[in-house]
């Protein structure tokens, strides 16, 4: 069993608190992706689990064993770094074998493990090459191979694909997904790429400012974001937000006077200020839906199969709506945006989800 459990983890650099009370469970064999804005502490969390950074307080267990005071090599983790961090002076074989040699693993065992990893990653013809004689994608695979031969309880990946070009990134993403299936490995994975997060993850952990904002299955985060931050972070382009007021009879009044009728969650009280959220892909230009907003089209970004219409409401706020195909509407025209009630997200004044 290689479950990772993190309880009340705190870490600061001097006076700067970087991780605040992190609670997180990574189930055995699951693929957990950490996302969040730059500087929110993703790398720090990963490095703390690896034992590369000392923590201030909290508890970490890997496979039921407390690892707080263990050096990295004894935590049974393997880390894949963003820059790959291959040893430039060793060939591919030795890059993978180095840690095992240091752990005094018998030679035959090392050979077997390295060859097995090389076979899985199709590195066999490259075993005698130095890192600088490899392409970016091949280096990436060696880095993963170096992790595999350790037979760790947990794989830690810190933005492993960010140095690859777009096409290779998609390829490698699929490879990693296959690898996860095959090895039944427990993986923690940091990325900036939403698509990577959504496609790879069993569970996504959204971090902000050193805290976990929400952890859950990808679609759960997409359909039921706990708060404004997660709602705005997951999905691209980001969710539209409009402030509104709850009126008598359960209508929602926007600041420019437009009113929407909705079945409100019971926790909404008349007079409350709320924030409404709706995703661009759930709105249609024209069309029918139980909600409608009208405004002027500022600009339409056409991407081919779809596009994004930036529509300005009378209150001055801009809303982005996805449009299918090639709409005939052009800038300056007025437009009616419609969407369905079930796609409406309502957040209270503190930014927490209602209903």
């Amino acid at each position: 069993m290689s479950e990772v459990k993190i309880e009340k983890l705190c870490k600061s650099y001097g006076p700067v608190e970087v991780l605040k009370d992190i609670d997180l469970t990574v189930e055995d064999g699951s693929f957990v992706v950490l996302v969040g804005p730059s500087g929110c502490g993703k790398s720090t969390l990963l490095r703390s689990i690896a034992g590369l950074e000392p923590v201030n307080s909290g508890n970490m267990t890997i496979g039921g064993k407390q690892v707080n005071d263990l050096p990295p090599a004894q935590r049974e983790i393997a880390m894949v770094f963003q820059s790959y961090a291959l040893y430039p002076h060793m060939d591919v074989y030795n890059n993978m074998a180095f840690g095992l040699k240091f752990a005094k693993t018998p030679k035959a065992e090392i050979d077997a493990r390295v060859n097995e990893a090389a076979r899985i990653l199709q590195l066999e013809p490259l075993l005698k090459r130095r890192p600088r004689e490899l392409s970016g994608g091949q280096r990436q695979r060696v880095a993963i191979g170096r992790a595999i031969v350790r037979k760790p309880q947990v794989f830690l990946f810190d933005e492993p694909l960010s140095n690859l070009d777009a096409a290779l990134r998609i390829n490698t993403r699929v490879e990693i997904a296959k690898l996860h299936k095959m090895l039944k490995a427990t993986i923690m994975y940091v990325t900036h790429d939403q698509v990577e997060a959504m496609t790879l993850a069993d569970k996504i952990v959204v971090m902000n400012n050193g805290r976990v904002e929400q952890a859950g299955r990808p679609l759960e985060l997409y359909y039921k974001p706990n708060n404004l931050f997660v709602a705005g972070f997951i999905g691209s382009p980001a969710m539209n937000f409009l402030p509104a007021q709850v009126k008598k009879g359960g209508t929602l009044a926007l600041s420019d006077g437009q009113e929407l009728k909705a079945t409100l969650p019971s926790s909404c009280k008349t007079g409350d200020s709320v924030t409404l959220g709706f995703r661009p892909e759930h709105m249609t230009l024209g069309g029918t839906g139980n909600f409608a907003l009208t405004g002027t089209v500022d600009i339409i970004e056409r991407l081919g199969e779809s596009g994004f219409a930036h529509v300005r409401l009378p209150s001055g706020q801009t809303i982005i709506a996805e449009v299918r195909g090639d709409p005939r509407t052009s800038s300056g025209q007025s437009a009616k945006l419609t969407f369905n009630a079930e796609n409406l997200h309502i957040f209270n004044a503190e930014g927490r989800r209602l209903g």
């Binding site: 590369l52 990295p72 291959l86 600088r132």
Partner: protein
Amino acid sequence: MADAKAGAGNAIVGMGRGSYAMLLVFFLGPAVVIYTVFSIYPLLATIFNSLYLRQPDGAYIFNGLGNFQTLLTDTTWSAPFWNAFRNNCYFFLIHMLVQNPIGLALAAMLSLPRLRFRATYRTLIFMPTMLSVVIIGFTWQLILSPLWGISKMFLNAFGLGFLFAPWLGQESTALITVSLISVWQFVGIPMILIYTALLAIPEELIDAATVDGLNQFQAFIWVKLPLIFPTIGLVSVLTFVNNFNAFDLIYAMKGALAGPNFSADIMGTLFYRTFFGNQLQLGDLSMGSTIATMMFLIILIGIMCYLFLIQRRMQRYSF
């Protein structure tokens, strides 16, 4: 970039022969002139002079390689020459075995992640390098003086006075003492060069080594050290060239005679006495040039060995 290059290429192609020559003169001229006047001409003149023999009447006649034969076989010349050569080898070895390992160790310590007052140490250790050799020599002469030097009092204060000896004045210790003073003065140079090379090694590489089970010291030996071999090679070559060209510290501390009884005599001081003359010895242009040419050849051979035997096998790493 590519456009700019192509543009320059086209400009040269479109140029007349005359203006192309002008361009060459403009860019290469200054370097050629300076090198010729201050490096190539003196070198050639030295080699040329070494082929002539000074007659008692002051005239010079062509002597082929005769001077070299005299220098290497006639004991009046060969004894001091081999003495100076041997001393010079010791001088170099002491630098290689003491200065460079200490420089390496200091650099390794300076690059420890949790070190405080890093900049202060760096500056203090590098300070003697920036001081004049004359000042260094004089200061150490005072420190080591058996009459009023503080080293004696210092040892006495710890009850270790019996260890004291007039190190600069004994034949057996003079060379080592001067060498160690030179080591002390210049240890900052290997330190800075190696420190810079260590800084270029990405931290993630050391993190990877840590995850692989190495501690800081092992990571240094197995990961960092192999990656800075090129720099260590460079440091060794610099040490070699500087040591076989050395002159100033010995001259400042021990004078041209490099005493006692030539025990600290190296090629530089031998050359100085021979070429310019000293006390009763008359200056001898041709024998002086012969010694200078030998120094040039020794350094040339050393560098060739390095280039062909060592540097070829060494890889430079980019990260």
